[in-house]
């Protein structure tokens, strides 16, 4: 469950790093804004009901557009500069988006009801599983397979992968690298916005969820391998397992074991379990 959400979020982060070599702190902010936007859309449409699906799509698209604007107006000017500047730019966005969200939606908790279509639950292996959770658990692998197919089988995906190997060469061959980058960043923001929207029926929306999620997404991406699609998938599964079983082994220190895992991976294989060494 948690693992699938983390996968949705982390895959966008990993995509942007893999292609653009930018570690995007603002990814968590996109996730949070996606949640708020979905809530807002629900208010406009109707407080509950199947409008949730429309609201989720609306939020994801809205965040994709926001991501496109950020990439075009800001990030674009810092390519080729030290990665410190890119890190700091995305951190500046974290600060700004965090406060904008507080200004618009306040600091209270907001929540969205589960869509009626998936409101029920089912008994599996003696536990009660809401349909909505099953939906998320199915959606994660679906997006993983879909994304993998697009990246490996379509011509656009080939272009993206080529750009991640050698930006200049792809440009020299006549591809519009700028457009690829904007497209990637928008796709990544879309995933962040979508996961933010889809998390709303499960968790209340609070300020600070951006900073909390981005650290988790980082760990997942580092474990799996920055830029590796399946790596991110397995990374999120491993993260979920370590977090759950860490509680059994060292009660209270599950967070510690997750960070320790991240350190061990970075020390032994900085490019992650499934990544490839670059530069």
């Amino acid at each position: 469950m948690t693992a699938m959400f983390l996968f949705l979020i982390a895959s966008g982060l990993s995509l942007v790093f893999g292609v653009m070599r930018v570690l995007n702190f603002a990814h968590g902010s996109f996730y949070m804004l996606g949640a708020y936007l979905a809530w807002q859309a629900m208010q406009w449409l109707q407080p509950a009901g199947e409008a949730f699906w429309a609201a989720a799509i609306f939020a994801a698209l809205g965040i994709a557009v926001l991501g496109g604007i950020v990439e075009r107006l800001l990030l674009r000017h810092l390519y080729g500069r030290d990665e410190l500047y890119q890190l700091l730019l995305t951190y500046a966005l974290v600060l700004i988006f965090g406060d904008v969200a507080k200004y618009i939606w306040g600091t209270g908790q907001l929540s969205v009801q589960r869509p009626p279509l998936l409101a029920g639950s089912i008994q599996i292996f003696g536990t009660t599983q809401p349909y909505y959770n099953l939906f998320i658990m199915a959606l994660g692998p679906a997006i993983a397979i879909g994304g993998w197919l697009v990246l490996t089988r379509s011509s656009a995906g080939r272009m993206v992968r080529a750009a991640s190997y050698d930006r200049e060469m792809v440009g020299a061959l006549g591809a519009n690298v700028g457009a690829i980058y904007t497209g990637m960043f928008m796709a990544s923001s879309f995933l962040a916005g979508l996961s933010g929207a889809l998390v709303t029926p499960l968790q209340s929306i609070v300020p600070g969820m951006d900073v909390l999620i981005i650290v988790q997404a980082f760990i997942v991406v580092v474990i799996g391998g920055l830029g590796s699609f399946w790596g991110t998938f397995w990374g999120s599964v491993i993260y979920g397992q370590v977090l759950s079983f860490g509680i059994l082994i060292f009660p209270g220190f599950s967070l510690f074991s997750v960070f320790a895992l991240m350190v061990v991976i970075l020390v032994i294989r900085p490019w992650g379990l499934f990544g490839r060494p670059v530069r």
Partner: protein, 331 residues
């Protein structure tokens, strides 16, 4: 004429002047000014220690707060739990932070660029996770409140200082310790060792080719930076009368980085200037609005796109422009 004026400007011991002015704050300013002054002094040391990595060696550490936090906890635990006097606990804080920097840095300097940044971030989050959960030692999410002030009765023996409150005395103590630490850092940066670090920043391949052990130098810089961050942390814990896990959260690393860049990471005095500017701005702006992070974000954007050299970088560029102007008129 101009050259003489330039020489005159250079011969003024500006640093000494700043510290002399700062020394009088408890008598000239309000209690609040002293409070801000203490914070600025501590942040100045913290940011300057980061700049040893960032500006001098070119290592982007995104987890510098870990060493600040280790120093704060070591000093606080020694003083509060074991009743160790400050004169022992303070160096111990620096030593503890340096030791942790040695262990974590050993792994970090093996990685390059973005991976280095991530590993430092991971180590700082480990410190955070331990601080947050190890209730019996660090107080967990409750933190360690009520850390005693260091014994400052000896100051009563100094004629002018008898009437000062403990906050004012702690300010003077902090100021003195920060001044000494900054002086040592200055010596380090200006030493042949510091020059080597700059060589590594500018061209690591070349540095390795002329026989420099790049990793060893980077590790040494990492340990030194960690030690001074630890000293700053020790002072900060006492200053705030408590150490809490929040101090070690990763966003604090970003804050001190903003200070460093705001001041100008290419200059030794950049980070202290940045610390002064940021603390002062924070205090001014929070009077008007609660949205300080927003303002900070905008400042950061302006810095990145307009003034990548920071305040000191901007001033230096401005002075050069003026001097060229004057020189042109003379000729």
């Amino acid at each position: 004429m101009n050259r003489r004026r330039a020489l005159l400007a250079r011969s003024v011991p500006w640093t000494l002047l700043v510290f002399l002015v700062a020394f009088w704050v408890p008598w000239l300013g309000s209690r609040y000014d002293t409070f801000l002054g203490t914070q600025i002094a501590i942040d100045a040391l913290f940011a300057a220690s980061l700049n040893l990595l960032l500006g001098t060696t070119g290592l982007v550490s995104f987890g510098h707060v870990a060493y600040f936090g280790v120093g704060a906890y070591v000093c606080a635990i020694l003083m509060k739990t074991y009743g160790v006097p400050f004169i022992v606990a303070f160096p111990a804080a620096g030593l503890g932070a340096a030791l942790f920097a040695l262990v974590s840095g050993y792994f970090c300097v093996r990685l390059t660029r973005i991976y280095f940044a991530m590993l430092t971030l991971a180590f700082s989050q480990i410190v955070w996770a331990v601080a947050y959960k190890w209730n019996s030692v660090t107080g967990g999410d409750q933190g360690l409140p009520e850390i005693p002030y260091p014994d400052m009765h000896w100051m009563a023996a100094v004629p002018g200082l008898r009437d000062l409150g403990s906050g004012d005395r702690f300010y003077l103590l902090t100021l003195a310790l920060v001044a000494v630490s900054l002086a040592i850092l200055w010596r380090v940066v200006r030493s042949p060792f510091g020059r080597m670090l700059t060589t590594i920043r500018d061209n690591p391949e070349r540095a390795a080719a002329i026989g420099l052990n790049v990793r060893a130098y980077e590790l040494a810089a990492f340990v030194a930076a960690g030690a001074f961050a630890g000293l700053a942390g020790a002072l900060y814990g006492i200053f705030n009368r408590g150490v809490f896990a929040d101090y070690v959260f990763w966003s604090k690393s970003a804050e001190v980085m903003i200070m460093t860049i705001l001041g100008g990471m290419g200059y030794f005095w950049g980070p202290p200037v940045g610390a002064f500017a940021l603390v002062w701005l924070n205090q001014e702006i929070t009077d008007y609005t609660q949205y300080w992070p927003f303002v900070l974000g905008v400042i950061l954007l302006v810095l990145l796109f307009v003034f990548p050299g920071g305040i000191v970088g901007g001033l230096v560029a401005g002075f050069r422009l003026v001097r060229r102007h004057l020189a042109g008129r003379d000729a």
